[in-house]
Symmetry: C2
Subunit: 336 residues, 2 copies
């Protein structure tokens, strides 16, 4: 996997690049909200066109900690979330210097795609290497998870299974299959130009849905079904299950107290078109995270046809076509 | 209530007019699908602009039974559903003559408003009077229910509570409050020009939703809440509860096997607008039956403002503004 860092060097600067991921089985509800221990396993695919690059430098000359994302210094609350991970790295590595974190996303911030998964996984790898820590993939996944639950999955190459675990040491992601195993595609169909609403709101009220317990009771079966469908490359089975799961996530949101409604007219239009097109042999399946935009999962052969159809719909602002890709990687292209 | 028919006459022809109704608590799932015994109580308000008029004549000269709706003779399967009620009336009354049933709706058939509630309640009253039967309101509600579950509620004036009961004799609607009690309004916002999908499909799969049992367990509380809100004219409480209920109905549909999706882009646009306008003091609440169109419940003072806003939305085809009204009534204006 290339994640175990064997080389120790004197440099205190490191850069990592990491993808966002689309969840086929969703992360919804936390058992421990400080450590992001989830109620259930989740499953995802990395997105090769949605990347965050992060450079971390520890330096004795830095008098204060600085965090710059897409050219702007972070507000205090968001900065604290980053520094929480930096402090864990300091603790493990013994490095007590000031830090400079510079991070850049290559996908539009108004695309509704969460950058927290790619950002915290990149931070975990760049930060640990910059402090000369040697972490295994599992340890990186745990560290990334503490920053943002879904970041645990971006560490892994290709298709990831985040096992909920029972505590901090046992809640991490592992690989189902590498990115080259199955050339699935994810067309992100953007119907709402806005930052992703934080899913923190959703996690907070997840348990108030009267249907949450029933979901938990039945979910492992769907999860194992999705993993099996990936392993067997059974596209129709995968599609059926991810649509059920997407609907169920939004059912949880809409029936929580207070209810949360993420869909807009474009969301429903895309879902209805996808179903209609399937009847005439153009096969895609939808999934949505905690937002209005639709991720359409399809086979490589149907990407351009689907994409051009989406672009003709008045509700669609733009699309981003993704392949599965490697997880968090080191790079020499430092941002400063 | 004026439903008990005291006058017995020699005429074998009678005409009744009856309203559609909007359910605040929905009828979803049947314990007995032949008799339309529901899994749960439901609550509704009659709609004064959505009326069916039905004339029934029993005549020894009629060689065959004829059923004409909106100028067209009914197809065999729909005719059988009507003749099933006629046969029950023949059985009770001893009248064995041929029948002619002529029925007319004053609301567009493509409005998505179910005509079965108004039609079968009008049929129950016109048919029983034409056969010289004297039925109480309760007996009429039972007879109408066998034709179409929701028709049991249209028999009653104003606001109706259909208690599920345990069998044919105990499952009928009774009044919560007369139409004059509360000047609530229902603006039917039509976003899809099509006949209402039969809810029979939904009833058939209702029990396959993994969330159906939890709904049943919690529903009586919401039902009593809605009844209390009507009695106390507590508009905000009523609105909160009917939106929860509308979402839950569609949750049941979307999570059944196979799933049923009724919403279109207009449905979601109206729901989102309603929520947004509420934040700035224009207060309406949405509910939807098994279809895409939205019923917006509001107070009389806000009808014209809401209505003109709806008409400006490109997704809206037309609207119908309703007040609560009397239930099924006799009239002298025979259709033939």
């Amino acid at each position: 996997m290339g994640k175990r860092i064997l080389r120790r060097s004197k440099t205190s600067k490191a850069t990592a690049v990491s993808p966002a991921n689309i969840a086929f089985i969703k992360y919804w509800g936390k058992k421990n909200s400080k450590l992001n221990i989830p109620f259930n396993d989740s499953v995802s695919m990395n997105l090769d066109k949605c990347l965050t690059t992060t450079t971390v430098e520890f330096n004795p000359r830095f008098r204060s900690d600085k965090v710059i994302v897409d050219g702007k210094e972070l507000a205090e609350d968001k900065k604290l979330r980053v520094l929480n991970i930096i402090d864990l790295i300091r603790e493990k590595s013994g490095v007590s210097y000031g830090v400079k974190v510079v991070s850049k996303n290559n996908f539009p911030s108004d695309s509704g795609i969460a950058s927290s998964a790619s950002a915290f996984s990149a931070l975990a790898l760049a930060g640990s290497v910059a402090s000369d820590l040697t972490l295994s993939e599992k340890e990186l996944s745990i560290l990334a998870r503490i920053g943002s639950g879904s970041a645990s999955r971006s560490i892994v190459d290709g298709f990831a299974w985040w096992k909920k675990g029972a505590n901090n040491a046992t809640s991490f992601a592992a690989q189902i299959a590498p990115e080259s195993y199955w050339d699935l595609r994810d067309i992100v169909v953007v119907v709402e130009k806005m930052k992703k609403k934080s899913s923190t709101e959703g996690h907070g009220v997840a348990l108030t849905s009267p249907f949450f317990k029933t979901r938990q009771k039945n979910l492992q079966r769907r999860t194992l079904g999705v993993i099996g469908a990936i392993k067997k490359k059974n596209f129709l089975k995968l599609g059926e299950l991810i649509e059920q799961e997407a609907i169920e996530l939004h059912v949880m949101a809409m029936t929580s107290n207070p209810p949360i409604f993420y869909w807009n007219k474009g969301t429903v239009e895309i879902m209805n078109k996808i179903r209609k097109w399937r009847e005439v042999g153009l096969t895609g399946f939808f999934t949505m995270d905690a937002g209005a935009n639709v991720h359409v999962i399809c086979l490589a052969k149907d990407v351009s046809k689907l994409n051009s159809r989406f672009k003709r719909l008045p509700e669609v602002l733009f699309t981003i076509s993704n392949k599965p890709c490697r997880g968090t990687q080191l790079t020499n292209k430092h941002l400063f």
